[in-house]
């Protein structure tokens, strides 16, 4: 039976990582059209709560790959392990949550196993033939992947056809995780790999020092942009974030200008966030930024320009100067 495999590396975590649940949800939906089994592949060990959560999300089987060499993230080792898995199991589709590491591992794996690769997926569908309204080369059944392009300004649809295996990386705000109509009871199978011939060629000299709470996990984010006018005013963003018990974020222009750290950047080339509340202060709402915050449950926009694109995405809007509004919001929250 053909299979759709959601690949994760979640060792050391309590359950599936953020984004894996969305990938399983999308994977389950496309399985119906492909008449395929949905499998979870846990590389480097299965997190304790992951099997239970995968069952709720409809995984029909769980494969694990364990090896001492998989204890630390190593692209060379992970690519080798995954290519041995793909060569043996020949899955129709391998899905990744598009993390920093997946951005490197997925395309390398694709080349290794002669598969096709698409990144930035936001939707996936098994299609019989093609939309007759447009001209296409492919007339057979295929998988269609909808992706975000031009920094979110457009959506592109790619047809996958002709390769044995396809690899798709999904944006982790591609959908909301949705449990299967009825939970499954997946069996866990161990897949044995031989990694004796592979050594990581990229040597880590200094590991990143993760500081403070992560934007990706934050429930409340207050983010600032060029409307802050100068570097020192980023403090107003931080103050409101502190008052709300949230985390401060930034648009790319002010990170480029050095007003905020690269780790605080929200957007296409920064963090993809999904907080309950996102306050965008002095941010115009370019698509590149919205990619990183459009999954917020409630978005508040403060901008002097009433035509700013950010208001199209906002639940609440204030047309005004964020330098005046932010301190008052901080006061009102504290009071």
């Amino acid at each position: 039976m053909p299979s759709v495999v959601v690949c994760t590396w979640s060792a050391g975590r309590d359950t599936l990582t953020g984004g894996d649940e969305e990938a399983l949800t999308i994977g389950r939906q496309v399985c119906a059209g492909l008449d395929a089994d949905l499998r979870l592949l846990a590389v480097g060990g299965l997190a304790d709560g992951a099997a239970g959560r995968a069952a709720e999300l409809g995984a029909q089987a769980i494969d694990t790959i364990d090896d001492a060499k998989l204890g630390e993230m190593s692209a060379d080792v992970y690519v080798e392990a995954l290519s041995q898995y793909c060569a043996a199991k020949k899955p129709e589709l391998v899905l990744f949550n598009q993390t920093f590491d997946a951005r490197l591992i997925a395309p390398r794996l694709a080349q290794r196993v002669h598969s096709g690769i698409v990144m930035n997926g936001v939707g996936l569908e098994a299609r019989a033939g093609l939309d007759p309204d447009t001209e296409h080369e492919i007339q057979e059944d295929h998988i269609a992947v909808t992706t975000s392009a031009f920094g979110g300004d457009t959506r592109t649809v790619y047809a996958l056809h002709g390769a044995e295996t396809y690899i798709v990386c999904l944006n982790d705000n591609a959908c909301l995780p949705e449990p299967a109509p009825s939970a499954t009871s997946p069996q866990t199978e161990s897949f044995t790999v031989d990694l004796s011939g592979v050594e990581e060629r990229v040597r880590v000299i200094e590991k990143p020092k993760a500081e403070g709470p992560k934007l990706e996990d934050a429930a409340i984010i207050v983010a600032g942009g060029r409307g802050l006018e100068e570097s020192g005013n980023f403090k107003l963003v931080q103050d409101l974030a502190d008052a709300l018990g949230g985390v401060a974020g930034a648009s790319r222009p002010i990170v480029d200008d050095g007003w905020a750290d690269a780790a605080q950047q929200v957007g296409l080339t920064g963090k993809i966030t999904k907080p309950a509340l996102y306050v965008a202060a002095g941010i115009s709402g370019a698509s590149q930024h919205m990619v990183g915050c459009s999954a917020a449950k409630t978005l508040v926009a403060i901008n002097t320009d009433s035509d700013a694109a950010i208001f199209k995405h906002a639940r609440f809007g204030i047309v005004g100067n964020c330098l005046e509004i932010l301190p008052e919001l901080t006061r009102a929250v504290k009071g």
């Binding site: 920093f100 490197l104 997925a106 395309p107 390398r108 080349q111 290794r112 598969s115 096709g116 698409v118 990144m119 093609l130 939309d131 447009t134 296409h136 080369e137 992706t147 975000s148 392009a149 031009f150 920094g151 300004d153 457009t154 959506r155 790619y158 996958l160 002709g162 060629r201 990229v202 040597r203 880590v204 000299i205 200094e206 990143p208 020092k209 993760a210 992560k214 990706e216 790319r252 480029d256 690269a262 780790a263 309950a276 509340l277 698509s287 449950k297 409630t298 199209k312 906002a314 639940r315 609440f316 809007g317 047309v319 100067n321 005046e324 509004i325 008052e328 919001l329 006061r331 009102a332």
Partner: protein
């Protein structure tokens, strides 16, 4: 040492963004391409930053030969810009990239790089600002058997290799890799420089080396498309914004906080 930068010509993403913001971005009759002639074509900014990374090494006194290679038919202006920036050699692989998928593009680039003698370092932008896929550098590295280091803030030489600061979600990571290697460059490397007028003038006379697809010796099944772009569209955003107004900043702030508390957001 020898550095090859892979560059892509893209539609100016700022112009695309401006058209998209006012709802005037047009999709061509084929249903998948942006055809507005008024949108300028230029070098992908991340690729320009890859050239900048090479020039920074040259500034630091490294004796290097810089080749900039691209695929396409009407890309000479972009390549001349690369020459004006400091490329010693500009190369155009004579293939229409629209006939290839990303794997095909990477296969052609890798075939060319593989034919060049003594390439130590391949630099690429982290992704292209048109399709945002960012897979070509990793595939090039995989084909050529080179280690791949992604999303660099800085690239420095060490004995027989590079030291790279990568911009990871958890902060910067410092790694090293031996030559030959592929490194992808992120915007954190800094603004690319402008070419001098004198450099622009002399670049005008430079002609790209043209490489025919047949010279690359790629079997046709290696380059046939597995991924086909079928459709492109502009996503619709349904605006549903409740504007909070009236009164002083303090009053407006008070109203917003009250609304957020009403809806249990905070």
């Amino acid at each position: 040492m020898r550095i090859v930068v892979c560059a892509k010509q893209v539609l100016d993403p700022d112009a695309v963004n401006n058209y998209a913001l006012v709802g005037k971005l047009e999709i061509g009759e084929d249903g998948r391409s942006l055809t507005q002639a008024s949108i300028p074509r230029l070098m992908n900014a991340y690729d320009e930053q890859a050239i900048e990374a090479a020039l920074k090494l040259r500034d630091a006194g490294v004796d290097l030969t810089l080749t900039v290679v691209t695929l396409g038919t009407e890309v000479d202006d972009m390549l001349k810009h690369a020459a004006a920036l400091g490329a010693d050699e500009i190369v155009r692989i004579d293939v229409d990239p629209a006939t290839l998928d990303h794997h095909g593009v990477a296969t052609a680039l890798a075939a060319h790089i593989g034919r060049c003698d003594g390439v130590d370092l391949v630099l690429c932008g982290r992704q292209a600002s048109d399709d945002d896929q960012g897979v070509v550098p990793a595939i090039v590295g995989e084909i050529l058997g080179m280690p791949v280091v992604t999303i660099a803030r800085s690239v420095d030489l060490i004995d027989g290799g590079v030291r790279v600061a990568r911009v990871t979600p958890d902060g910067d990571e410092t790694v090293e890799a031996s030559f030959p290697a592929v490194v992808t460059i992120s915007n954190e490397i800094g603004e690319p420089r402008y070419p001098t007028m004198k450099a622009k003038m002399s670049a005008r006379k430079k002609t790209p080396t043209v490489v025919e697809e047949s010279e690359l010796g790629i079997p046709s099944d290696e380059i046939s498309r597995k991924v086909v772009l079928t459709t492109q569209y502009v996503p619709e955003v349904e605006g549903d914004c409740e504007f909070i107004d009236g009164g002083s900043p303090a009053e407006i702030a008070g109203k917003l906080v009250a609304r957020l508390r009403d809806e249990n957001v905070i």
